[in-house]
Symmetry: C2
Subunit: 331 residues, 2 copies
DNA sequence: CTGAAAGCGCTTACAG
DNA sequence: CTGAAAGCGCTTACAG
């Protein structure tokens, strides 16, 4: 790879002049500039971003930490982050934690110390202290999807309303025995969806029907086993609310296998739609998350913080977007 | 952030000694070492990876360029890359191109010049020259999923066999009028699947039934419209082969809407299974791709090349893994 | 308008 | 066993 020095030699000027010419950072005589451009082109010069980063103290890289990508909404969010990041001149570094606290810790350890100028994270909630340390050391941190720590800015969805609205909608459809498939209450989105569910159920004078099993929370199997449980334990069950799409698929599968008519006898709705719902044999009603938008909004927020001068950094910000109820055949 | 200099000052030694102690790069007196460790700990020292990268000429970062992540096999491959990369000490930089040549070019432009030590790419095929330039400039490049250029190493699946085996399997089930939903023949995987399909169809004395429409290739809508087309144009159609899962969903949906019995009258199989097939109301038979393994294999290959001494770089390598036929209810 | 110098934070021969 | 020095490839005050 050609360096500034090579270009300078070929153009018969000092490296500083080459730098200024190429970066348009101060006036350079047109003739000189032309020589520099020609030399750079001839050598196929590309600036070494590592050297620039060291010199300017900015990497132009955003670190993203998520629990998983495959069959999850995080893949769409990541696309939003990457595209907006590119537009703003930032590269996207991704880490997958599988919701394991130790893995998350390892990832964060790497990200600090120069790997990233800012970190966007869907955290497990088990490394709050470390996250605050990183923030304190000058690297902006932004929570996405999961607001595990109120002391750190976030971009989320109004999960309480998702749960609440889903119950109200099903009630309007005539449902009176509504079961919930949620997940670890340690994670804010599950907790809040359940809160919304409980509030609506109480207001409407219905009973609460929870479910749980030992499968990994974000899985088809979890939805499958929980749906079985609800069918067995709730007499007259007429609706199932699944926290995420993939659980909803499990629930639909159980109904199919047991020849329980859907939506005739049991209606199904997912609270984390990410557009697969519309592609099913019987399409699934869901609260669609503005995933791509969440990603791009997150980037804009964190870049703003990265680039703000030291004395006027923005304060704590919590942005909660609305999900959209998309009615389909499963209800 | 504390630097080496800060640690050196606190431990009353030279920075070079700190570096040696922390990196275990040559013998340091135990007492000195202890002082250095204590100082580093007290200051919460983390090495600046940018400075290390500049000095050592290695970023310990792998760039990944893919067309999309959401609802695609690339999200699973990326998980494999990221995890194996982390194990090998490499961070993962991701770029999403949407199969747009200009976007791909932009991404590659950023990745060279220090951003990444190596590039793993599922290319559009429109920047072959640039890719070879990058390779020539000393940055290893590895094609994944799509072997668009035989002069660059690759990790793929034996797509020809996928197409061939699918036809043979359906023939064994009694199908005689098999339609194909594929995609841009400019992309190797679609082309090769079609080649396999054609070979089997010819050997068995069946007719070729292609389909195409103006929707984006990798979409539910593409599968939907192509399936409609096959139903209309192929008398006695009794099987549909879809190149990717999401097209298969579109095909299944059409059959459902038209009350065409599946698998009774028409069987459906996908050639790019990524585990959503088993989660459907009627589960879908597919050729499952070893996606995660492809990702980790790709990392091992590229890291080997990155770390090989200049005079003994490995030569061209093309690794084609086998897909696995997973029989489910749709056939 | 342009050159010479300092320095970002490290690592690594080179001495001693 | 450890220090002093050079240098990775840039950018940016500082002179002139």
């Amino acid at each position: 790879m050609a360096t500034l020095k090579d270009v300078a030699r070929l153009a018969c000027v000092d490296v500083s002049t080459v730098s200024r010419a190429l970066n348009n950072t101060s006036y350079v005589h047109p003739d000189t500039k032309a020589r520099v451009y020609a030399a750079a082109k001839e050598l196929g010069y590309h600036p070494n971003v590592v050297a620039q980063a060291l010199r300017q103290g900015r990497r132009h890289t955003i670190g993203v930490v998520v629990p998983r990508l495959h069959l999850a909404i995080f893949s769409e969010i990541l696309q939003g982050i990457e595209e907006e990041g590119r537009r703003q001149g930032y590269a996207t570094l991704v880490c997958v934690t599988e919701d394991d606290a130790a893995t998350e810790k390892e990832c964060l350890g790497r990200l600090r110390g120069g790997f990233a100028d800012g970190i966007i994270i869907a955290a497990t909630g088990h490394n709050g202290r470390l996250l605050r340390d990183i923030r304190a050391s000058g690297i902006p941190v932004l929570q996405i999807v999961r607001k595990q720590d109120p002391r750190i800015s976030s971009v989320t969805v109004d999960y309480v309303s998702c749960g609440y609205d889903a119950v109200q909608y099903l009630y309007g459809k005539g449902c009176r025995h509504i079961g919930l498939i949620s997940g670890s209450l340690h994670l804010a989105p599950y907790k809040e969806r359940q809160d919304g569910y409980c509030r609506a159920v109480r207001e409407l004078g219905l009973e609460e029907n929870f479910s749980a099993c030992s499968q990994p929370v974000n899985s088809f199997e979890y939805g499958y086993e929980c749906a079985e449980q609800l069918l067995e334990e709730v007499p007259g069950l007429d609706a199932i609310i699944a926290a995420v799409d993939i659980q909803g698929l499990g629930a639909i599968r159980v109904l199919k296998e047991r020849s329980v008519e859907m939506p005739g006898r049991v209606r199904v709705i997912s609270l984390t739609g990410h557009s697969v719902g519309g592609m099913l044999e019987t399409s699934m009603t869901s609260m669609e998350m503005p995933a791509y938008e969440m990603g791009s909004k997150a980037v804009r927020m964190i870049v703003e913080e990265i680039e703000a001068p030291e004395d006027r950094k923005p304060g704590l910000q919590h942005l909660a977007l609305a999900a959209t109820l998309v009615k389909r055949e499963s209800t």
